[in-house]
Subunit: 159 residues, 2 copies
């Protein structure tokens, strides 16, 4: 889909909820759209955005990310590196995507799967819990790290 179309959708979502579509909010969303890396920290976004608007404050970035998260435009993630990371929430994806986190080099690889519906109804029955979203993270070793450290290919008992 075209980026400008995505931006219009985001704009619409923000306005639907009676929030203002400010320059700052637009620039921050733009940063997500133009970034090659899609797991951005508040600081990352702050740095990217300063090029476009040097006066923007880090607090605004945090406040925007909080708003976007509450509107479900963005997902807040934690890869265990001490800061939160954010990614655009792609509602068009029919299969949710998840993260493979390499314990060797720290790289985060995306991966799609659609086991959700099945588990969803199972849980609804068992716990009465109504699932709206989920996050799945895998920890392990990527191909490259396994090549460099053959012991990383062993099947560990923990799982």
């Amino acid at each position: 889909m075209k980026k400008s179309t995505v931006m219009n959708t985001l704009k619409k979502r923000i306005r639907e909820h009676k929030y203002k579509f400010t320059t700052q909010r637009q620039i921050i969303l733009q940063a997500f759209l133009s970034s090659k890396e899609n797991h951005l920290s508040a600081e990352d976004i702050y740095e990217m955005v300063r090029g476009e608007n040097p006066d923007i404050g880090l607090a605004t970035v945090y406040r925007s990310l909080e708003l976007f998260t509450s509107l479900d435009l963005v997902k807040k993630l934690d890869f265990g590196d001490g800061r939160s990371r954010y990614e655009l929430n792609d509602h068009n994806l029919s299969h949710s995507h998840h993260h493979l986190i390499c314990l060797g080099c720290g790289r985060v690889i995306e991966f799609t799967s659609d086991f959700a519906e099945e588990i969803r109804s199972r849980i609804k029955k068992k716990n009465g819990f109504n699932i709206v979203d989920y996050q799945l993270k895998f920890y392990g070793y990527c191909k490259d790290c396994q090549k460099q450290h053959p012991e990383y290919s062993e099947k560990e008992p923990q799982i």
Copy 2:
């Protein structure tokens, strides 16, 4: 299993790796074993542990948790409340347990499932990624919150 047996296993694991089994480390592990709540923050543990040993420092709690996590005795979790939470890693559980996080009241419910092995081999084939561990979090609404807010029972499109 008896708690004293569990403690002995933990002690053994720590010593196997040439770390000392100090009073502080024991008290902290004891806190996990005796706590009713099993998702503890560093601060929670600090408070619990001060009863037993008032001189213990918060830094020691953090350092111990880091060590325990690296030895896989403990898992570090993030429920999005701004602080890390830790739980004893129960290797005896053949089916891993996961978390249902209620967006209404914040309650965290545990839930077991064993879909892992299946996904594990699928990923190994597809990405060459060797999975050692994984974390699965579900967000939604618990029974009680659905009772109070019928709209929480609606099936949301995001998943």
